[in-house]
Every structure is written in C-alpha cells, then in structure tokens.
Subunit: 367 residues, 4 copies
C-alpha cells in the first residue's frame, strides 16, 4: 500500500493500526520557526476522542500525543516532525469474532482481496483510529494557517433528516453540544432522532460542513491540482465519505447560469464577488471568498441490526455486530474534515509561492 | 502553475491554450505493446467536439490529433507518447472585449490574481479546450483498460430538472441523441427544457454519471489514495464540476445503516455484494461491484443574460456575453468525465501490482 | 517507461525519438512573467548542434525550436510551456542494419529486454537527440536563474589524457575552440589526440566541468534531496556519464581531514569559507561558495573499430559501425550538463522558499 | 525541509535528530506477505554501530529497533511499517561548545542559513545518526530483494592510499576485520595507516564499493530515472560522499571506445556481455551483469587538529574538536551504502512491473 503519504510540500506520512502499538505521523516539509507543543496537538485530538457524549461510544480512550522529533526549544526546526499516539490496552477478545466473516460496509473483504490477508483486530489500518494521525498533522497545519490569517470552521450540518437552520447559526454552539452543531435547536432534534435510531439497533448518516476564511485569491494550481479538486480528494479520503460538494454543490445541476454566476463588484477599491455560489473558487483557484466544502458521511456500518454476510467457510450467514459503536460518525469526524482541509489549503499556499517571477526575485532579494 | 501533470504511474502532462498554437499531452508511463493509432484517439475527440447538436455551439471545430512520439510500427514503445491538436484559425476579435472585464463564473479574475496577468483570448488555459488533452490521454487509458477487461460507460443523467428514468435505460440511446442520455424520453424533455432556457438567454446545469464494470476487487491505495478519493479529485478537476458522488453519494447522509450497508453473499463460489449502495468501493478499495460516480456540472457561465461585473478601470458595469456558447456543459463533458475516470482507474490498476510479495515474486519468476 | 519527467517544482516532461517526428518538452511550473522567446532557446540548442567542428559529425542538423504554449505577449504566463523541435528528413537506410544486432555500449539490448522490442532507428529514445529537450528546458531554467543572480559556466575539462591547466584558464576561450575548452593550448593538444584516435577508428572519453556562481547559502533539502545528491542524479541521467564528482570528488578518499575541511572566516561582515574543497555544499545545502560539479563521459560507443556482438539469430558476429559519429561526446555534451544543472538548481531554489515560517508570512503579507 | 522522503513505490519517510528522542522511519509501499521481525532489522543496525573496532569511536551505543506497525502475525500487511530507535541517554554537555561556532566540514553553518537556527546538539538532523533510519528501511528492502534472487555485497575498497587487491579478495574477510575490507592484508596496512593519522590528530577518507548480483536485465526508467542516475543520487545523499562511480567510473574519461565497450556473446542460449566496464547498465537500464557502484567518502570532519573558523560574535577563532570521533567514516558507512542501493534497486524493480502490456495482462489474468 503506497497511499499513506499525503501532500506535495507539507507532506505527511501516516502509520498505525487500531490494535497495534500505536498510530503516528511524520510531517516532512513543515517550515522552521513555528512555536509548537504537544498541547497544540492534544487540543485537536481531544476533539475527536470518543466518550464525549451519550451518542458516542462509551469506550475510554485517552489518546496522548508525543512529539518525537523536529521541535527544538519550542520551535519547529524545519526537519521532520514525528508524532505518535500509543494505543491503550484493550481486550482483543472484543474483536476476535470479526476475523471469521466480512462485516458489511467495512473494508474487511477488500483488504483481504488486495493484500491476501488482513490485520483483523478492529479493522486494523482501515479503522477510524487511523484518523488520529490526520488530526495530529492537521493541528500543525491549522496553526500555520492561522499565522497566515486563515481560519477554518467545521461543524455538523445535518444528521439524518435534521439540518441546521442558518438563521439560528451560532458559532459558539458548536462546542457546546456533543453533536458539534452550530444550531442548538437542530442539535436537540438530532439528538432525539439518534436515540430513536439507536432503539432500532441502527445507525445514521450526516453532513459535515467546513468554511475557510481569510484565504487570499490566487491559491490552487490548474488544471489538475485545482484547489477544489484537491479538497475533494482530501475529504473523500476520509473513511465513510461518499459525496463532496463545493459551494452550491450538487444543486448547481438544477440552477440557471443567471442564478449560479457570482457577479463582481468593487468594494473598498478591491474586486469582490457579490455572492458565493461558487464556494470560493473560480477555475480551481481561490477567489477571495470563503471556501465552502460539505462532506456526506454514510451511517456507521457496525450495527446491532441483523445483517447478511458470508463467513470464511464460504457460507451465507446472518450476523449482529456487538460492541460499542457510535450510531453517527459525523460529530467526531468534524475535526478530521477540518484537518484534511487545513493540510490541503496549507499545501496549496506553499505551492503558490512560486507562481510569479517578480515575487520570487523579491523573495531572494530580501534574504 | 505546477498542476498540469496528472497520475502516478500513467502520468500525463498537458499543455495549451484556447487561442495559442494548439493543445497537447505527453503520456509518460504507457506500457509497451499496445496497438495504437490516431484513429483510436480521434474517436474520443470527436465525442467532445462542438456542433453536434442544435443545443451545442455552432462553431466549426475540426480537432485532428497528431501522434508525435512513442508509437513505432503501430505499437506503443514504452517511451513517452506526445500528442497534439493544432488550433484552427479563428478571428481573435471575437474575444477582444473580454480582456477588459472579469466574466462572472470564469477564471479571468483568479488567473490575474495568481499570475499577475492572463492570456485573455477565450479563457486561455482555463478554456474548455484544455480538456482535449485529457480526452486524448483518456482514449489511450480506456484502450488499455479494455485489454484488462474493464469497460467505462458515461452518459448524461440529468439536465436541469429532467432526470433519466432507469426503467427506460437503453445503452445504445446514449449515442443516438445529442444530449448523450440513455433515456430517449428524458432526452426529448431535456431538449425542450434547454430550448426554453435559451430563449431566456440563460444556461443550465446537469449531472454526468459514469459506470465502470469489470474492475477486479483490490484496486485503490488506502488511506489517502483511495480509489474513490482519487476519482473525486479526477472529476472535480474538470472545469464546472461542483459536486461529486460515489454510489449513493450525498443521499447516504439521510440513510440508515441497515439500508446503506451492502450485505455479502456467495455466488458461484465467490464473495459478492447483494447491493451496491457503496458504488463499488469499501475502505477506498474496489470491491468487485461496478464503480458508480456522478458529477454535478454548473450552468455554462457565458450567458447573454445581463450580468454585473467590474472593468479594468475599477468600475461596476453590466455586461451581456455574446458569442456562441453551449447552454449546457454536460453532453460534451461526458467524454471528459470518462477520460478522467479511465486515467484514474488505470493508474490504480498499475499501482496495485506491487501490493503483494507473492505476486511480485511470481511476476519476476516468469520473466 | 515512467522516467521522462524531471523536477519537483519546475517539472519537465520530455518526449521524442531520433527518427520520429521530433523531440520536445513540456515545462510545468515555470513562474509567470519571464520574458521568453524562441531565440532564448535557440541559442542553447545551437551550442549542442553537430557539424560545428572537424571533430564532430558532419551531419547537417538544423534544429529549430517552436514554442507552442505558455507564452503570451512575450512573457511566460505560468501555464505549461510546450516546445518542439521537428526532426529533419534523414535517409532511414542509414540505420537499417542496426536493427539486426546489438551495438556494444548502446541501449539496444536493454530496451529490448525492458520493453520487448525497440524503435531501432538510430537508437530511438536512447539517442543523444533526446537531450535536445533537456537543453530547451535548461535554457528557460538558466534564464530564470540569471534573474536570481546565478550564473552557470560549463566547459570541457579533459579529453583522454589532456587536461586543462587552470593557470591558462580563459573564460572566453570556451566558445572560441570547437572543443569548448577554456585553455587554448589544451584544446590544441586534445585536437591532435582526437585525430590520432580517429585514425585508429576509435573514440575517446573526457570530463565536463560545471561551476555555478551566485547561489545563496541555504539551498538544498536534507536528507535525501541534498543539492549535491540531486545534481549527481541530474548529471548521471545524461547518457554516457559514468562518474560524477562534487568539489574534490573522488580525491577526498585520499585526503586528510585537516586538508579537506574548509575553514571559515569573516569577510565583509559575512561568514565565508577559506577554501572550497567541498564544492559548494555542506550537509547537502549550498554554502555560498561556487558549486563545482564534474562528469566523466565514456567514449562514443559507435566506432568503426571492429567489435564482437550477437545478431538476432543468436550468432556471435563481428561488426564495424559505419556512419558519422563524433569521436568524443564531451564538447557537445557541455550544454547538456549545464542544462541539467540549471534545472536542478532552479528546482532547489523554488523548493527552498518554504523553509522558514517568517519568510512565508512575509511573502503573504506583501501580497 | 521537504527532503526526508525517498523512493517512488517503496517510499520511506525518515525522522530524528542525534540528541532528540530517537530516530525512525515509516515505509509506505512495502508489499504484503514478507516475513519480518525486529531481528531482521537489528542485524543491519548492528553493522553500523560504533565501538566495533579500535578505529571507531568508543562510545557505547546500543541501538534497539522497535517495529510499531505494518506487521501482523510475523508478516508485513501491506500497510505502513513504522520503526523507531530510541536515543540512549548521553551527556548533552559533550556538545554544548559547538553551539557557539561553526565546525568546518559540518552542516552547522548551512542549517543556520537555511532554517534561521539549528538543533546544535551533536549535529541534530545532520548527524550520522540519521542513517539509522536508512539502514532500518534498507534491511527490509534487502530482504525483499533476496526473495527476488538479488544479493548486495558492500565493503571498504580503499582507505587513504591503501586499496584492496582483487587477487586477495575474500568475501568472508569483510566481516572478519573491523574495517570491512575483503582483503586482510590491505586491512592490516590500512589499520596501520589509520593509527598514524590518529597520532596526527587527523582523519582520512576512503572508498566503499557495492556489487549487486542477480538483478535481471531491463530494470531502470530512462531518460531521467535511469538506474545508475538513481543510484548516484542514493549514494551521494549519504553525508560525506563527494563522488560516485558506476562501473569504470571516472576512468572512462581516459579510455578508448574499443576498450570501454563491452562486447556481447551468446552463453547458454542467452545474450551476455563479455566484460563489465559499464558496471551493469546500458542506457540507464540494467543489462544482466552485476551492478558496480563506488562512493568516495571525505575524511571525518571532526578532528582534534587545530582548525580556523568563526564564532557567534563574528570573530575568527581557532578550534580543536574534542570528543570521540571515528578517524574514518567508510567502515561504518558500508551498510548505509548497501541500504541506499537496496532501496533504490527495489524501487526500480517495482517500477519496472508496468513496462509491458503483455505482462500486465498476464498479471491480472492470473488473479
């Protein structure tokens, strides 16, 4: 598997399985001079940890990050930053049964087909624990972006049929409810919905939304490495994501040109768009408006609800997956989306620095 | 701009502007021994050429491809394949006006912001003519895939509010109507809808759908280079695409786990999925079911309808874009989607060859 | 073959065979705003063209470059620059015989082994004509480097046993003799030596030397993409190069530490090295001293001298290669070395721009 | 610094400083199914550890590797393999002085220039301890290569003026003397020479030689990713290497074509070269003969011998570097060269699998 390295300039190499010794990441290409501590990383990791709400798995995970290299006297040195989160002890018997059959909606079958066998303990590399590495790296990228004036806000937009009402949007609410919704009323309704789903031994999907503000115009590399194309890959690479939208997204298919085009106007002597149906990119290059990205997450595949599958002896069987599983992925995935977006936007910012000769000449003249 | 190279094993490097000398592509990594002629490429290019229907621009483009290298005695040699399509002569005065303002929905503004100036003739590099290079390369990838038993079918799924009815799906219909819809009745309705939109000097969006059959299980590289993640990037990198879906796509957000999970069963001694909500991937690896990808295209941004923008003097102005522009992008973009999917699937097939030691040993034992 | 793309930021994709339609290159990642014309490229190409001296092949090649994209109103636009040199007509019968056997010292055998067959016309892709593409791209890189205050000087250091005397070094002499030696007396002796070798139907090797001045300290990316490591690859990728040296090169193996270490001193308030045994790099990063690179070229493999080989029927045979071949590769290869060094140094300069956070913040603050 | 990732298919990402928490590597792209244990890695690491001879530093380093991921039930899973060696406790006072000046021949100055400051403890990232990560990864690559029938032999060819005599070459001798020379008599002479150098408070250079046998013809990707070009980069990326040779190396510059060309002959029904001046490559592709690579290492830069340099106050000073430093780099570097060659050859073997369509079709037909 050669797919565990991400990025072109700010490159991350992730490793680890759910029931191995730990999960980690090496960042190659982090600029020197960023103040960085384990607390910076931990704050992000804590946002994805389970057991934060009654809707999330009651497992006790205490993911503590250790920075192993690349930071000296509190600052990044420009050399690789290695970070690791050790796996806590866990009864392996919890997962012994799943070695014998293919769980629907999981990667058990495809890992076997690709590699000939698999680490069947809790999903191994295909477990959601893999995202710890993304979040640890994303925390560094997000801190760098803040130094460049760029902020990323991510939240749960919808859970099953319950969607937030933008008239009730309150940024602080995101951290105040366990579903990470910026609309308390929607969070309340979604909570009730989740409880009804749990009673049916079922799970449910939802949508995460991410807004990037402060990004200057000009970021993104046409024609293949467009900013929105790279963001689409970033987000769909997260397990359980089956759809991604930029700006108006799928809805553009039913719009008219006169509705969908964002007109330009002058504002404070600068060119600005009058609206943002485009979600912040034109021709794959940032246009100065906020980036708007949405990701649709499928329902958690592990459910108590009875399902049909096959076992190792090639028999059709019916199973019911026990264990502690979140009935909804989105709230814990919000910080993963934010991390992948941060990594992608930062990479594009670094890439863009070589776009113009005059700026390169200026850069070296000033050294 | 460093974003004009695509792929990891089967790499393409594209070049060209709408009003420069031509458009072309160099393929690096095409295996030796494929029978290849200019006719193979031309067949694909002809599918994207304008003037094929009354709904498409009446411009007369006759894009003839020339293979410049990499083919000897009718077969690919394993060395780079260079292909070029010369631009036909065109009155440059057609586009003189657009140098003076930013067209809404186009990349004029963002190219200026990124590079300091732009080739303003017809969009330059951001023109849809750029996709000629994608299609030329895609034709080679698709031919290689057919040798591996993989077929790709792409068509228009919806135009504005008109969506195909799968009960009326007829594969041959795709080539029989100028909208590339597999449902004649839908094509008829969509045609009427487009005419009404044209009367309003407006344009409309739509959805292209792509089905890949014959792909074996095991293709795709977790965790970042998942097959669906790479497909998402491939498709969103096409100009005008604002949303992409794999399998059930955005709809998974409202599904229950018991509905969304595809159960497994034994069929002819092999493990098969009972349904395909996942769209052919599990954990980012192909699962043996057909791949299902959808892309939402925004309405053509160039419209006669009056729009607001700014000119070079920094004044707010109102414009109406003359010239011959398709009122709908999708039908001509179908072959572009197919090409990007072909390039991506082929790349993943080549990448997968090194996943298992036993197969590598076997490969070299047989040489 | 997936090895025809070079570079990370300033990436080139080359194509073409000796007897196909032409040879070309696409540059992806050239910054916008460089004044560039076909004359800039042609000046470099003319330095590698044959027929310039009595020691070079009397073939009449007139390699005219055409810029196909990426330049608008005399300046690079930031989009891919495609360049092509059409092959002149040549009697293909000249090369018909070599299809039947493997030429010693050539890649005929290895191309057959790798790809199953080969374009046998004049070496196909393994012909020295491939370097036209390197030189065309190198001309652009060198022009960019001059804007950054960096100059590259390349010349013939030795031919067979004749080495230049640095006491007689005169820069202008390089262009004044057909062997590109900066020492006229050495050039005269080398000329006599070559004539004696030609009488024996033989060929001879030599060394090219390259000096890069004006490069600031700090360029190069440890630990793998060290500046000298990348230069070594760049130079050895040129056909016929079998050894490469940085600074004192192979001689360091017999030096003492006290001799080899370059002490530091203050000069005009800046830290300077007192000597340059290191050839301009410390730890793979440029140290402010000139880069010094040497490449050893093997003798031209095509010789009239009788040689042993095998034919397609699997018989041991003796051959004598007719045709017009240079008895020495180095003088024409000097500009190829210079081009590869220019491409590599430029790439490292662009890469280095993201090394420090303070400079990145400063860069974006100024936009 | 974005240069700590190496390889295209078998990619390694290394991290760690001499006085940080440890040194490590993540391998992305290791095929599934290789039996692998910490003992396999440890055997390689032990070959580079100090304190093995009286000529090496008497420091007590006990580098124990830990495999953190990617191995399940004794076999590689195809997912990333993370390995770490914790740094042993060491008095940091040993290195406190070097923070105040630039050591000649070291990267202190250039790291400061590039990153604005440096981890001055023992060289930080530019320390030779960085090579632990190369060797750990190289051990995996070498084990894979052995499964493909490829063996790598590396040894000290020369130390200062003492070169091995190939008539006395004995493979077993390499491990029997602490200088890793395959000629006991040369080892004895070199030992005496080193002692005399040490008495002068000085250090000395040398040459490592590497022979790769069993590699099939056809490996390497022209025109830039030639096997010898990639090997040149691999070897020069090792600290202290200033020259690299393939086959006859620099000596080809003085050879005649009739001497240097390797004729072909039939042997057991196969095409073979009659000699191996080329060192195993033609046109950058392996030719079935053994690969022969030589690397020239400069003398250890840290010497007791008085040297001139500057301090942080910008004063010219004279220093004498205390501490325990090897007077010769080569013997301990032999396994580093072997590791870099293993990584590079394996990568090229994997890359080559997609060169021919017939073999790709055959590969997928057999799945």
């Amino acid at each position: 598997m050669a797919g565990s390295i991400y990025g072109k300039r700010f490159r991350i190499s992730t490793w680890g399985e759910s029931h191995g010794k730990g999960v980690g990441v090496v960042i190659d290409g982090c600029p020197a001079g960023l103040e960085l501590s384990e607390e910076d990383i931990q704050a992000y990791l804590d946002r994805r940890k389970p057991g934060q709400s009654k809707y999330a798995t009651p497992r006790k995970e205490d993911d503590k990050v250790e920075i192993l290299s690349g930071v000296f006297e509190g600052k990044t040195t420009g050399t690789p930053i290695s970070m690791m989160v050790r796996n806590y002890t866990q009864r392996s018997t919890d997962y012994s049964e799943i070695a014998s059959y293919y769980r629907p909606g999981h990667a058990d079958f495809t890992f076997d087909e690709k590699f000939g066998f698999r680490d069947y303990r809790g999903g191994g590399r295909s477990s959601a624990r893999e995202t710890i590495a993304r979040v640890a790296a994303g925390a560094v990228a997000a801190k760098l972006l803040r130094r460049l004036g760029i902020e990323i806000l991510t939240y749960t937009r919808s859970i099953g049929p319950v969607t937030i009402d933008y008239d009730r949007f309150r940024r602080d609410a995101i951290c105040e409810n366990s579903l990470n919704m910026p609309d308390e009323e929607a969070a309340r309704q979604a909570g009730e919905y989740i409880e009804s789903v749990m009673k049916q031994k079922d799970s449910v999907g939802g949508v995460a939304e991410c807004i990037v503000t402060g990004i200057p115009a000009g970021i993104g590399e046409p024609v293949f490495d467009k900013l929105d194309a790279d963001l689409a890959k970033a987000v769909v690479s997260i397990g359980a994501v089956k759809g991604v939208e930029i700006g108006d997204g799928m809805a553009v298919a039913q719009a008219l040109g006169s509705e969908n085009n964002d007109g330009f106007c002058m504002q404070d002597g600068k060119v600005r768009k009058r609206s943002n149906h485009a979600g912040g990119t034109l021709g794959g290059i940032s246009d100065g408006s906020p980036l708007v990205i949405r990701a649709a997450f499928k329902p958690t595949p592990s459910i108590l609800h009875e399902q049909e599958t096959v076992n190792q002896s090639g028999e059709d069987i019916r199973i019911s997956i026990k264990g502690r599983h979140d009935p909804i992925v989105v709230p814990r995935a919000v910080v993963v989306v934010e991390s992948m977006v941060a990594l992608t936007v930062l990479d594009a910012m670094l890439e863009n620095m070589t776009a113009r000769l005059d700026r390169i000449v200026d850069f070296y003249d000033r050294i």
